[in-house]
Amino acid sequence: MSQAIFALSTIAIGVGGCILYFYASNLFLDKVLFPARGPNAGRNINRAEAVRPWLFLAPALIALGLYLAYPVVATAWLSLVKEQGATRNFVGLANYAQMTSESKFWESMRNNMLWLFVVPAASTAFGLLAAQLTDRIAWGNFAKSLIFMPMAISFVGASVIWKLVYDTRPVDQAQIGLLNAVWLQFGGGVWSVLFLRILPALLLAAIAVGLAWGVWALLRPVLGSGGSRGSLVVVLLRLLGAAVFAALAVVMLWWLVGVFTVTLPYGQPQTWLTIPFWNNFFLMIVLIWIQTGFAMVILSAALRGVPEDTIEAAIIDGANPFQIFFRIKVPQIMGTIVVVWTTITIVVLKVFDIVLAMTNGQWETQVLANYMYDKFFRAFDVGVGSAAAMVIMLLVTPILVWNVWNARKEMR
């Protein structure tokens, strides 16, 4: 009870303090510092107006400077020094050299890249699908609330929930983990072939086809004779994108072969989170589960904003629902899709809690943020920890800039 009172009084003092600051400082400016009377009234008003924005911005600027700008500079500095006893010595890029010589760092980089591709793509795709499917049905809003609900759960809470889903018990006990309970239903019969071979194969094939289409769409303006080709940078970006897509498509086909050749250990409960490489995906599902709701809400609003007329014109032009969706609606909300995608990408690059709570980076699931935490707060190697933090910042910054640029463009 006393804690509740403490919390409430903190809120009251905080909010009250803010109001008091703005009100009192404003009053001070107008009545005492530059009063709008006397011989210099006009000059005083101009000065007060020049000072006022800074007065109101000051708390935010100070807080951001103290808690954001200073730590960035300090971390950058710490990444260049080494603690030797009580003194700190400048060691140049030695921390970075040490970091890049560690296999765990490269494992984190690889996993982060994996997360970077899979989570934003899957969340945006599922979000868009959910937004479109719930658009015109009576219980659409109910479905949306359900899909949005994971957004209200903290990453750690979500991890605990999914840890239960992935839980494993010895084979002679009842499985409390949903995934193992389902897994043990498969015995290698017809259904197993259908669900564990044919269905994933179709899914992979579909993704591969989608990627191939992406390659074609990216290359078409470069190779084609008609239309504007754009600048050299655009051409290079398109080529790069096409190369990435093509590589991913090959991977998908490789997996497609794997789906049919692998021998599955039917009847044995699996410890899902210890299966190297694939356990990354089990962790990603948690974040996708959370972020789909976010993507859905934003994209749903964007879809509502597509002018009804253009859809009706497309109907009259003979477009079927798929063509309307992909060729009329999606292009019109492309800006929003990019913003959603990049926003989720930034979340993904910082992902930490999920990995910490579920595997703590074991079994080849390490990611950069958790690697940094390991170095900083477990190994107390401030230098390498700071270096890892700088790497994360360097990865996030360009995407952040792009995201802000896109968001501002959308708002215009």
Binding site: I315, I316, G318
Partner: protein, 361 residues
């Protein structure tokens, strides 16, 4: 090459009837204009013809084929929307070729059709631009071009000019008239609330009101021989004046003595039994002429509006005497505050009973 036939067509949302008993025959090559006050269902009727709204009763035929359940793209129609409804992410060329691409036409065929339409509409220099880089009139032309390339049997226009400014509206109206001229075999249906558009473009006008058709006819038919008070007042501006009275003499010409004093003679024939019938006569403002003899209306001019070629005289409402409007040629500002007597040619005096014209019974 398309005859449209609407038989008892109706539209309802649940229990709410929006349109009912719509019977209409549209011949190949006609330009039909739907007019009516806002909310009369004219756009809904057009959208039912387009296939964007479900027809909830009756039959709709194009060339004798029932179209009620045919998807819009297969009805052989094209539609121009009020907001143009251009695809913002496509260039003018892509906008115009979208339908043909969906129909899997060959690129050569598509280019030929687009280039031809662009030439007709003078859009050739803009083919690679996005809609946002075009002016309102150009956007409207692209929307029309998007229809032309599909070579539809029926063109549907949903208030196509209402988003344009006044000068552009006149220019585009003339362009549409010329377009119609150049395609004598295409049928067009045009929705508007603007009388001038209706009067100038239409081969026939359909006046919609109260969930049904009020009258169908050529523009001059509607102007000269309105079937009812609604059409009489809707067509023409300012609206026709209506004055209450009682039939006193019948025959080839009808004499009506008016409640507000005054006598009107109309060339609408009446029967012997009509004597004493409570009627309303209708006289258009422009049909009034000043007189010293028997008058239809006598009153004080409360306000004048000189427009140069004509002057509008607004008469004061006074007791049971209605306030009316007269339109006299020339400039007559000096009449303000004066008492003026007005009469009209018997051929220009309409007689209504119970809201319906006595001409049609």
């Amino acid at each position: 090459m398309a005859d449209l036939k609407l038989i008892d067509v109706a539209k309802g949302y649940g229990d709410v009837k929006v349109l009912s008993n719509i019977n209409l025959d549209i011949k190949t090559g006609e330009l039909i204009v739907f007019v009516g006050p806002s909310g009369c269902g004219k756009s809904t009727l057009l959208r039912m013809i387009a296939g964007l709204e479900k027809i909830t009763g009756g039959d709709f035929l194009i060339d004798g084929v029932r179209m009620n359940d045919v998807p819009p793209a297969q009805r052989g129609i094209a539609m121009v929307f009020q907001s143009y409804a251009l695809y913002p992410h496509m260039t003018v060329r892509e906008n115009m070729s979208f339908a043909l691409k969906l129909a899997k036409k060959s690129p050569a065929e598509i280019n030929a059709a687009v280039d031809k339409a662009a030439r007709i509409l003078q859009l050739t220099p803009y083919l690679d631009r996005l809609p946002k880089a075009l002016s309102g009139g150009q956007r409207q032309r692209v929307a029309i071009g998007r229809s032309i390339v599909r070579d539809p049997k029926v063109y549907l226009f949903d208030e196509p000019l209402s988003n344009l400014d006044a000068a552009l509206r006149v220019a585009t109206r003339i362009e549409i008239a010329q377009l119609k001229e150049s395609m004598p075999n295409s049928t067009m249906i045009y929705v508007t609330h603007d009388q001038v558009e209706a009067m100038t473009l239409a081969s026939r006008i359909v006046v919609l009101a109260g969930g049904g058709i009020s009258q169908v006819g050529t523009p001059l038919e509607l102007y000269e021989r309105p079937q009812n008070e609604f059409v009489a007042q809707f067509i023409g501006s300012p609206a026709m004046n209506l004055l209450d009275g009682e039939v006193t003499a019948t025959g080839a010409q009808t004499t009506v003595s008016l409640t507000g004093g005054g006598t009107a003679i109309s060339s609408v024939p009446t029967r012997e039994s009509d004597k004493g019938l409570k009627v309303r006569i209708g006289v258009r403002p422009e049909d009034f002429v000043p007189t010293d003899g028997t008058h239809i209306y006598q009153g004080t001019v409360a306000l004048t509006e000189a427009l140069g070629e004509v002057t509008l005289l607004y008469f004061q409402k006074d007791g049971d005497k209605a306030g009316i409007v007269a339109k006299l040629p020339g400039i007559h500002n000096e009449l303000r505050g004066r008492v003026v007597r007005l009469t009209a040619d018997p051929r220009k005096v309409h007689v209504f009973h119970d809201g319906k014209s006595l001409l049609y019974r």
